[in-house]
Symmetry: C2
Subunit: 369 residues, 2 copies
């Protein structure tokens, strides 16, 4: 057992928060004594999120869980997918189409054809629907992947007794978040998967702890996939860790029909096999490096579009790349810790291993002192 004040605050056993788009993984993390946090960005339909949270409420053995939204603090370019689509240059569309052809990625089958909407969770209005749905359920925590949520969302969350977390890649952002009423800052380093900044965890975590650690708990995110790394995060002053990538190779992680290719790609990748790029969403995000990301590094590739246009541009391509079943093209946000993701295990085993190694590490360090 390794307890920090975070455990009291969230009512959890281990100071390990696990972000995942899979409700099955989230539930298993919570049942294993961490806090499972469900990524909501993939839910275009609020009714589907509602159903999923109903399932979560019933499957965490009464233990707490959280939700993660992707909501800019200020309302950005908005509109229907059709309106926004008009802002995408033809040259970009042509590049995507010709790249898919070059990579040998087949079109989607006629049945189950795409709705053409892609991931709408990047849209402010859709993220707001996620918040509204979440507040009709019982999450313990709401996290925002794009800094502090808008003030009224923080107020609403607090009124419902939720803890509000936000991700920060710089100390100044963390300071602004706490000033906005955020209760937990997640210091996310360069090595993290998905949207990420340029400062590595070793430097960023103590910097953010020094900035806001007196006011709120700070979680370390980016590069965590072993108990030694959990202990290192605690050494840096974090009250716990936020892990995202590492759950992608758990047994419970099954979304859609494309798992064999995705798993094969993740299990094979080393820590050098990621790239930080704007091609996924329009903001810098770390992805698995493969033939798809490589195409965007060629001299004929256009510059990625801003959020939310870039994701609309590539949304159908993402489905085609996933459905292709080709492990060399899967479009997948993942951190440098992918080099340590070498086998498929149940979440409970992963959690037990993390806790045991953290304890061993603390015991080893105690002998040095």
């Amino acid at each position: 057992m390794v307890r920090t004040p975070l455990c009291e605050l969230l009512g959890i056993e281990h100071p390990i928060v696990g972000f995942t788009p899979s409700e099955h993984v989230a539930a298993a993390i919570s049942r294993a004594g961490g806090l499972g946090v469900l990524g909501c960005v993939r839910f275009n339909d609020p009714a589907e999120l509602d159903e999923t949270l109903t399932w979560l409420d019933a499957n965490t053995d009464g233990k707490p869980y959280g939700v993660d939204i992707v909501m800019p603090n200020r309302v950005p370019t908005e509109g229907t997918p059709a309106d926004l689509g008009k802002l995408i240059p033809d040259g970009h569309r042509d590049f995507v189409e010709s790249t898919l052809t070059k990579l040998g990625v087949p079109p989607l089958p006629a049945e189950g054809a795409p709705d053409g909407e892609g991931v709408l969770g990047w849209l402010h209005s859709v993220a707001r629907s996620h918040v509204e749905v979440a507040l009709t359920h019982s999450p313990k925590l709401i996290a925002n992947a794009l800094g502090p949520p808008p003030p009224d969302v923080i107020e609403q969350a607090h009124a419902h007794g939720l803890t509000v977390a936000a991700l920060a890649g710089r100390a100044a952002h963390a300071r602004a978040q706490v000033a906005s009423g955020v209760d937990i800052v997640v210091a996310q380093g360069y090595e993290a998967g998905g949207h990420t900044g340029e400062i590595a965890s070793m430097v960023l975590v103590p910097e953010i702890v020094d900035e806001v650690g007196g006011a709120v708990p700070v979680l370390a995110a980016g590069g965590i996939g072993s108990g030694r790394q959990v202990a290192a995060a605690l050494a840096l002053g974090a009250a716990g860790v936020w892990m995202g990538s590492y759950w992608l190779t758990t047994e419970e992680y099954v979304i859609g029909t494309t798992m064999p290719a995705l798993r094969e790609a993740l299990l094979a990748a080393g820590s050098s096999d990621t790239v930080r790029s704007r091609i996924y969403s329009g903001k810098p995000a770390r992805l698995l490096r493969n033939r798809w990301t490589g195409a965007w590094e060629e001299s004929d590739a256009p510059a990625p579009l801003p959020m939310p246009l870039q994701n609309l541009l590539v949304s159908e391509a993402h489905r085609r790349l996933m459905e292709s079943g080709d492990p060399t093209v899967v479009p997948m946000p993942v951190g440098q810790i992918v080099g340590r993701m070498n086998e498929v295990r149940p979440v409970a085993d992963v959690m037990a291993g993390l806790v045991a190694e953290t304890r061993e590490t603390l015991d080893r360090l105690a002998k040095l002192a």
Copy 2:
């Protein structure tokens, strides 16, 4: 006191190795119980290095010190500076000259004009002269910043009773180094100053420890500037730390006449104020971000040349930028830890602070277990 097996191996009190181009800083680090390692790359004249090592032998109170060379494992493009100069395209020379003019950097004064040679330590033959000179003195350790030294250099060093260290940015490189006879691997993360790879310390250090930690001690380099970070490195499985940037703002660090501008720039910089670029030496190196590095990011800038040509190209520019006394243009390798370098202190104070905070951190962690 925090002791690891590294302390026995090197005969030092604290598991802290400090790399620095300044013999005054190196001596102070060794006197304070760490291992000061003198960077030799700046010594174009072997006689000057000889003199400097004679001074070091006399000024470490009999405590051990090391030397650091920059030597590729295989002999690369070689030749006199004049020969090599012919390989530099005119367009590159024109860009450097016009950039200096744009930045308002004056020419060097007529007296004390440059010899035009720049830093020759990147040349294999010059690095070999550094080894030969070093072996006539009493260093305890010889480190190579570019992977394993050539086999005969390792043999010579071992025959003289020296410990051989090499820097690695990937686990596969570390494995090859140990197979070559290297005694200590320095795992250098993305956040480090100077030549650096893409994998951040949080991920890289345990990866290299798992690869070679059973055979040799691994030091963590990149992002270390506080006792919390030393403790984190130990948590990750490192036997100690290798610090470079952090000594640049010590009282003892005085090289040449340009210190006020350099110090001002370092003290003012935050952790976001660095950039990883090939413009310094031809290989990716992290530098202070400023108007000079910015010019190389403009659309009209040429791609940097390979090592050793790039440094020859910019060597006079580096002198002019330094001599200009303008803190917004100093060409300076430094890591993201520069954000924590906010005051000028004596080395002994820095070392005492590191050791005290490491101990405090280990005590704090012991209470969590």
